[in-house]
Amino acid sequence: METLKIYATLALLSVRARMEYKASFLLFLVAIFFFYLAQLGLLIVVLARFKEIHGWRTGEIAFLFGLATFSQGFTTLFFNALVNFDQMLIQGEFDRTLVRPLSPLGQVVFSRFEASTVAHFFLGTAALYYGAKYSGIEWSLKKDLFLPFVIVGGVMIQSATRLAVSAVAFWTLRNSSLVHIVVFSSREFILYPVSIYNHGVQFFLTFLFPIAFVNFYPAQYFLDKTGENLFHPALQMATPLVGAILFALSLYVWKRGIGHYQSSGS
């Protein structure tokens, strides 16, 4: 309980520090919004021309976009600090967290809370709403209950991949390009239905770098998309489980990383 209070204080203060520059914060908000709108623009241009992507219609693609963006919003809210984690390490800022009586990860995470992610929530919610409406989802109690689990699972998957690749910096020191791939480029993969890729890529996105569980598999379930089962239909329900396993794994990698850093660092 006490620890939770400490983290809440840290998070609150990091938001306050961000608000010291209100104009910059607002500008950031606008910029993020603009960026994702441009990304959405790409999808709109494609859909205007081709009407559907591999059997997924506009509303369904919007639902995919919504799930990805919404869970990315939560992920960024918590783990934004990890984007520049290698710099924290190189400049010795991380050492500071090791001389305080608190979890280093907790300190990293809660000292850089990123409030500008409200842009993600706004866009994600809009896309989810629009997608659900125009794809004609038949909601049921089961689906209602499953949705929050899918969101949490998606957040855990995205957070886990970020945490794991950030931890790579403990071994390599510089890892900005890897972080770039996982944080930004990987998003490109799941903007489109994973079924468009060849089997190798599908396998990769399902079992090795399982971001297909963030939106594609659960969307199949919500949208009742039968007829294009990849691997096994049970995967459509697996998002929360995959999230939990990945998150635990990534925490383990992070711990190992700190251990390596402490015994090899200069």
Partner: protein, 347 residues
Amino acid sequence: MRYHLGMAYTIEAQNLVKTFTVNESGKGLLGAVKALFSTKKRIVHAVENVSFGIRQGEFVGYVGENGAGKSTTIKILTGILVPTGGVARVNGVVPYENRRDNSKNIGVVFGQRTQLWWDLPVRESFEILRVIYRVSKGDFDAMMARLTKGLGLDGLMEMPVRKLSLGQRMRCDIAASLVHRPTVLFLDEPTIGLDVLAKENIRSFLRELNGKDGTTIILTTHDMNDIEQLCKRLIILDKGRVIHDGPTEELKKRFPHDKIIEVDFESELASLPLVPELEPIRREGKKMWLRHAHDSSGLALAIGKLASLYPVKDLSVREPSVEIIIRSIYEKTAALPGYAPVEKAAK
């Protein structure tokens, strides 16, 4: 070595060893291209068999040139790094095994990097630290009152950290490291880049902290005035090894008959040595420091010889300062020729 097994030390280092590997990239464009596909690894011995014991209430200077292993030792003692070999204990706790327990007992200041929250008013940083270290409101207020007075923080508390001068920031950083009343304080170059007045402020506060509260302090610094004024004991490190450990005063007695002659020449001299009895140890342009290492009877003669042979403008005879003594100790272990190269001395 001033370390005896089984005694009650606040800080113990027992045969500490720390090695790490660095990748070497090749020279030039071709070497760089090659390095994309293969790397040479080199093992660096940052700390080699360092032992010392420090008792409660000591004020110890920990000095050495860059890369001598000072920071690595401090990082081991603060729990940031795990040693490759040997054991460290602080208040009986092994820092890298019980990082959190250790962190409650120690304060750390890294002179190069602030631990304050850059964009927030100073007061907020202290408040965060109060929460992190779980200090009660009453204890916190009492400690803050002391720190504000001792370090002259009045008027700084409402300023954002980014607007503080270097000296102001360092005072706040030292205060921040003491919010939880640690019994041991590690200071890694706390006076680097500060002006004389700011240094003096900090020194008098540290003297009081050590004297009144009995806080054990380890100080690494390049400023020998810090050492002479503050540290009763001095540990000198060179290439990862302790080459001297003892009272600072004792160091001066090590060369009881030595005199340092500071000479201003009319013009810069090219040839060295000048007079066989006077050993050149440092040079800055037209100025030169010479050591007379024999008993004082020959001193006047040697100076006379110097003045008759070279265009001397001004000259003074001094007791060797700690800096000069340390410099000569380095050079003996490094087996360098009789004087330090000009660039090195200019520091």
